[in-house]
Amino acid sequence: MSKSKLKRYNWFIFVLLFIGSLTMIFPFVWMILSSFKTVRDVYTYPPKWLPSEWKWTNFETVFRMIPFGRYYLNSIFTSVAQTFLQIVLSIFGAYCITFLDFPGKKKLTVLIRSTMFVPMVVTLVPMYLIVAKLHGIDTYGGIILPQVFSAFTLFLISSFFAAIPKDLVDSARIDGCGYFRIMGTIVIPNSKASISTAALFSFLGHWKSYTWPLIITNKDKYRTLPIGMKYLVQESSSEYQVMMAASVMAILPVLILFVLFEKQLVKSVTLTGMKA
């Protein structure tokens, strides 16, 4: 390929990627700028990029209307706990499905997989009744535990475990390693990228989880951020600027996680073709 051709080719790719990046970044920039706007700025047509006056009070309004700090801490605590428990459970489950042979394995796998096809709305009321019987309403346990199991996370991790040569696991067994040692020294270290990705997907899912925490909690003490966001949004259609201020603060943990796990995420996305 001649130098000029290469240059032309790179420019084409560059422009394409630049447009793509702008499209992706646009909502974020718009959200940040809108969080400083006045009500009038938000509704002005044609839209205005920059606020006519920078209104920091939008952020104050968020804290005035909802116990934002409390909701924020609850969201962090429940999302981290759910993610941790989900990943631990899924690693054990994925190990069983991938490396162990036991009677009924196929049926069990199909059964677990089938849970992915049941919409949450169908299980919502029965789940509520069970949690209510266990006195789980308005408790962190009530929010966290029913959302811990995820067939998606289990099979995502399992698909990466399947790439580990079975001979390696068998050799370890012959050398006298138990299940936990095999998991700790062979399986998990070889699947760090996939586990990180599964953790990230899991965290994102729990961070934005709305319906279950809404149903199972009544007291502000236990409520999470998405409920607070909905309270700001629903009828205050003229107060997008307040909603945007809340959104800017709400996405911070997700952004931090993306920065921390970027490498692993890109790696596993390349391998699986999934997108966040």
Binding site: Y45, L124, V125, Y128, I137, I215, N218, K219, E235, S237
Partner: protein, 420 residues
């Protein structure tokens, strides 16, 4: 013999003690606790929710004998329905709820205590606007009271209308046929502008049905029969199709109707009356409103929230009732109405000096209150939510051309009957 008498006396004393104990316990159970705790769930969010909460807090400050154990926001109307239904099944229901069609819950249990409670002179039942009270009934009996009530209103962009040389304050379109002609003129004068849309298509469609002499459903005793597939229903559905075919309304774009209106690319929008307080003065153009156009008779379907009591405990019920009377008194209802954009539900609110001044000052508010005189409460029944979904699918199919208006209406009726 002596022994027998002594034993008999002992037995009598023992029995007496048992009864006395039971009587004491009953009395204790009936005695009012020093502080009565109540759980309040509501589905009004944002600034309106804040206003409601401030009213509750003011009430509680004046009534130390009542304590709010929970003042819980329950999400959208649909979320609230799920939450309340689940809580009722689990025996965890709150004591008082404010949400859309709250009367369905006590109504389905055959609990019409509200009929009795509403006789309380302090409530001044006669002061409520007639049509609005109907909105809180279930099977013809009062099972709730109106709280945050709204109707659809046709808002318009005055700047776009002026460009077409029209003055809708002086000459508003009265009928839907006149309205279509106005839309066409505005579209012709403003390139790239759509004529009309409705953010809640089903709500508007129900209003249109009633205007055309179709009550949506007929109720005899507890039997509900959907009737919108008859001639008058199909006429309205055909008109709906005409709006799309003649390019006045975009097909399947109701979700974006309010955003397009705010952006100035839609001339007329049918939206809830509580947008009134939020939009007036905040849009980049002058906002106007016309009374809802009609077919045969003017009518708008009521919407919004009602308040009811689910508590079965006597003292909790009483505490909830005190609170309801407080938030529904003329002073508080008027304040809530002015702050939120929801409509005044009491006749006395319309006599309030602030409301009179607001009506005189705001032609938008004047339109909203004028519509109340012919507002209509549709029949509430258990499968109402499902019927609304079938309506939505029917309108979607009509707009996309998948079904003819007659087919779509017949299908929606068939599905509603199956659901019933």
């Amino acid at each position: 013999m002596k022994k027998v008498i002594i034993v008999l006396i002992a037995m009598l004393v023992a029995t007496g003690m048992v009864f006395a104990q039971a009587a004491t316990e009953t009395a204790a159970a009936e005695a009012r606790p020093e502080v009565v705790g109540i759980k309040i769930w509501y589905s009004i969010s944002g600034a309106n929710g804040e206003f409601f909460k401030s009213q509750v807090e003011a009430f509680l400050a004046a009534h130390p004998e009542i304590k709010a154990e929970e003042i819980t926001y329950t999400g959208s109307y649909a979320d609230s329905a799920t939450k309340i239904s689940a809580a009722r099944l689990a025996g965890e229901a709150p004591d008082m709820i404010i949400t859309s069609a709250s009367q369905l819950y006590p109504g389905e249990d055959g609990n019409f205590r509200m009929e009795e409670l509403a006789k309380d002179a302090e409530l001044n039942y006669a002061d409520f606007q007639e049509g609005i009270l109907e909105y809180a009934k279930y099977n013809g009996q009062l099972a709730a009271l109106p709280f945050a009530i709204s109707t659809p209103i046709v808002y318009y962009n005055k700047d776009l209308v002026k460009k077409a040389g029209l003055d809708l304050v002086a000459n508003p379109p009265k009928t839907w046929d006149e309205f279509v002609e106005v839309c066409k003129k505005v579209m012709a004068a403003n390139e790239g502008v759509s004529g009309f849309d409705a953010s809640d298509s089903v709500w508007l469609f129900k209003s249109m049905l009633y205007q055309n002499g179709n009550p949506v459903v007929e109720q005899k005793g507890e039997t509900v029969t959907p009737v919108f597939d008859n001639e008058s229903g199909i006429e309205v559905a055909t008109y709906w199709k005409k709006l799309v075919d003649e390019g006045v309304m975009a097909a399947q774009q109701h979700d974006t109707a309010e955003k397009r209106f705010q952006a100035g690319t839609l001339a007329f929008v049918s939206a809830t009356s509580n947008r009134l307080a939020k939009w007036a003065g905040n849009l980049g153009f002058e906002l106007g409103a016309i009374e809802m156009p009609y077919f045969k008779t003017p009518s708008v379907a009521l919407g919004g929230s009602t308040v009811t009591i689910l508590a079965t405990d006597k003292w909790k019920e009483d505490a909830c009732w005190q609170l309801i009377k407080y938030v529904l008194n003329t002073e508080n209802q008027t304040a809530f109405s002015l702050a939120s954009g929801y409509l005044p539900i009491r006749k006395s609110s319309l006599e309030n000096a602030d409301v009179k001044a607001y009506i005189a000052d705001s032609e938008l508010y004047a339109v909203a209150t004028k519509q109340l005189s012919y507002a209509w409460a549709y029949t509430h029944f258990g499968a109402m939510g499902s019927m609304d979904n079938f309506f939505w699918y029917a309108l979607d199919n009509i707009e996309s051309g998948k079904s003819t208006p007659a087919e779509a209406m017949k299908q929606a009726v068939k599905e509603t009957i199956a659901e019933l």
